[in-house]
């Protein structure tokens, strides 16, 4: 029984109809990919904790739940800021909006239209980055995803509007466990620039989001990528982001996790061409019984690439944070410059953080560093605030906020930054001071 579950029996039974007859509009190579993924998953099974990559994160709850497909749902939030926007509700693309003037700069489409109209593009780009043959959840997603958002920014285009993909999940009325498999592919043509915001909301204790995001940056492309996860506190979120960077491509990523019960953010980056660079900024807040696992793997395959990672965690109550950062420098990737830092603020005796740097270096002329700090609030800073009349509790809150703000302040898309700042202030019971922001200051 347990073994059947471990091999996905809990899901494949529910999705058997889907697995037997997939959408007729899908090209043949998609069907082949789905079958290969199914075979891979039945070989891999759900990862066990004896798998080093899952040492600190237990997915038994995922393996033992009889997940069902989610019913259709409507968008749950309204957004008042301008963007090229796609909304994935319960795994299906329900809204797609782009100002027509941008048609010369990018294509954005759902899975059906991509299959029908851009099959060649899909064949050469889709599922080329995800490591579904090794990663069980990516395999599961490839088997079972129903819809996808496909974005292609054309070469040498600079998008002045961000692309915003909202992924929301709404529980079914019977409150039965449900799983969704959002899928995203973003391709940045040579020399193009874009910002992508991926936000996750909704969910409940019986909701599971199993997503795959593929990012392909062609030569000299530049992507700012913001992932903001604010799902309900008991939902399960396992989303694997895979990126490939060609020569001189640059990825700036911000991974912010505020919600969810069991959360795994996986970032798998491959620096494939010379002078590529990636920066990962992570922020995670775990309280209650939240478990937030940030797993990063950065492969340096070409010379003279840089990777920089800074993760910051705030752990309170019984919150559990994990940071596992792998850096793999391949032979020949000389002049690699890689830096990795995980800083965690432990605010209660029951909170916990596991930090696991893992550097594998097979080139000799490289600079790789890693560091981890786990600490409490700074007594000097607390005292300073108190001597200005600010009560100890508020001073603590302000310092916790400040710790997070160091990441949030770098988010360049103002509505996203302000929303997060408000949220963090509210979380700490601090005044929002919206009017201060509006003051006419240099």
């Amino acid at each position: 029984m347990l073994e059947t579950h471990r091999l996905g029996g809990n899901i494949t039974e529910q999705w058997s109809a889907f697995l037997k007859s997939q959408p007729t509009y899908e090209p043949r190579f998609v069907a082949a990919a789905r079958q290969a993924a199914e075979a891979a998953f039945s070989k891999l099974g759900y990862p066990l904790r004896r798998n080093e990559d899952w040492k600190y994160t237990n997915v038994t709850a995922v393996a033992q739940t009889a997940w069902q497909p989610a019913p259709p749902a409507r968008p749950m939030r309204q957004f008042d800021w301008e963007a090229i926007r796609a909304i994935i509700a319960n795994g299906r693309v329900v809204d797609l909006h782009m100002p027509p003037t941008l048609a010369a700069k990018l294509c954005i489409m759902n899975w059906h239209d991509a299959c029908r109209e851009h099959a060649d593009f899909l064949e050469s780009h889709w599922n080329r980055t995800a490591r579904w043959s090794q990663h069980a959840f990516a395999a599961l997603n490839t088997m079972l995803f129903e819809d996808a958002v496909i974005v292609h920014v054309l070469p040498n285009q600079d998008l002045d509007l961000p692309v915003h993909i909202e992924i929301c999940q709404q529980a079914n009325e019977q409150r039965k466990p449900q799983a969704v498999f959002p899928r995203i592919l973003v391709v940045l043509g040579q020399g193009s620039r874009a910002s992508l915001v991926e936000s996750y909301s909704g969910g409940s204790e019986r909701c599971f989001t199993c997503g795959v995001v593929e990012l392909m940056l062609e030569r000299g492309a530049h992507l700012s990528y913001y992932k903001v996860q604010q799902e309900q506190e008991n939902s399960i979120h396992i989303v694997q982001a895979y990126a490939r960077l060609a020569q001189q491509a640059e990825l700036q990523a911000y991974i912010v996790s505020l919600g969810g019960g069991l959360v795994r953010n996986e970032c798998d980056l491959r620096l494939e061409g010379e002078h590529g660079s990636c920066t990962l900024h992570g922020l995670y807040l775990a309280r209650g019984k939240q478990h937030i696992d940030n797993h990063t793997e950065i492969e340096h395959l070409a010379p003279a690439c840089t990777s920089y990672e800074l993760y910051k965690g705030i752990l309170s109550e019984r919150g559990h944070g994990v940071f596992h950062g792998k850096i793999y420098v391949h032979p020949g990737a000389q002049k690699t410059d890689a830096k990795q830092t995980n800083q965690a603020l432990l605010l209660s005796d029951d909170a916990e953080v596991d930090s696991k740097p893992q550097l594998e270096i097979y080139a000799d002329d490289v600079r790789c560093t890693h560091g981890a700090t786990v600490g409490q609030l700074d007594e000097q800073q607390l005292f300073y605030l108190q001597t200005r009349g600010i009560g100890k509790e508020q001073a603590r809150s302000l310092l916790i906020y400040a710790f997070a703000e160091a990441i949030v302040s770098q988010i360049e898309i103002e509505p996203v930054r302000l929303q997060l700042e408000d949220l963090l202030l509210a979380e700490e019971g601090l005044p929002l001071e919206r009017e201060l922001r509006r003051l006419p200051l240099p």
């Binding site: 000097q380 001597t387 009349g389 302000l398 310092l399 400040a402 001071e433 509006r438």
Partner: protein
């Protein structure tokens, strides 16, 4: 305003202050001078309420009340202000947010309504001009990336905005060039008033050329060994602390 009686303080079991007596009347400016390690900064920290300093004997009366019973924030709300020797950097908190939190905490304690954003800005602008500081400071994090001089000016800016009754200035002159020193001193002088007392703690006499004290106390080895009018500072400058230390050693014999 402030009366310190037989104050003994130790840090990590080591006695630093060994029986300080000092009376600072309302409206006056007193200077405390002393060589390195004499306990000047310890005195400042104890007045502001630092917890890792243990008071083993004596008391501190502020406006007739025992100061030692109050938490640091309560002292601040009652009007005690310490300008730090080494102002603390707080990345992630803007000066604007910080100043507003501070002023509202104090106003709330005094039963006054919060300042609205425009009134707040007006007040801050006026004080910025006084200290010749740029408005862009408000958007920057508290003391982060500030030069030594900017940090000290920021302390005086806070002092000017929060309008304390008792100002304690811990080595405010250290690290300042002569122009910055003058700006800081002008700021402090503008705060002199019959309702306010100021305690200037300094190693050097030069600050006292600009902020003229009513009285000077000399702190050596945890005790005030001499008090006198402002000329005492000049005498110290001419003769050095060794002169008093020697006298002290002789008197012990």
């Amino acid at each position: 305003m402030l009366e310190i009686r037989d104050l003994h303080v130790q840090v990590e079991g080591k006695p630093i202050l060994k029986g300080i007596n000092l009376v600072l009347p309302v409206g006056q400016v007193h200077a405390i001078m002393g060589p390195n390690g004499s306990g000047k900064s310890t005195l400042a920290a104890v007045l502001a309420g630092r917890e890792d300093y243990e008071v083993t004997q004596g008391e501190i009366l502020y406006q007739g009340r025992s100061l030692l019973e109050l938490a640091p924030e309560e002292r601040a709300r009652e009007g005690v202000f310490l300008a730090f020797q080494y102002p603390v950097e707080i990345p992630g908190v803007t000066n604007m947010y910080f100043l507003r939190a501070a002023i509202n905490a104090i106003r709330k304690h005094l039963g006054m309504p919060e300042l609205d954003a425009m009134d707040f800005l007006q007040l801050v602008r006026e004080k910025l001009r006084l200290l010749r500081m740029d408005e862009s400071l408000l958007k920057r994090s508290v003391n982060e990336g500030f030069s030594g001089g900017e940090k000290k000016r920021n302390e005086i800016l806070q002092m000017a905005i929060l309008e304390p009754r008792l100002c304690i200035m811990d080595e405010t002159d250290s690290g300042l060039d002569i122009d910055a020193l003058r700006v800081v001193a002008d700021g402090v002088n503008s705060l002199r008033s019959p309702e306010r007392s100021i305690l200037v703690i300094t190693h050097y006499q030069r600050l006292l050329n600009y902020i003229i004290p009513d009285q000077v106390h000399v702190l050596v080895d945890g005790r005030i060994v001499r008090s006198g009018p402002k000329e005492l500072a000049l005498e110290l400058e001419a003769k050095g602390y060794g002169w008093l230390e020697q006298q002290l050693a002789t008197s012990k014999l």
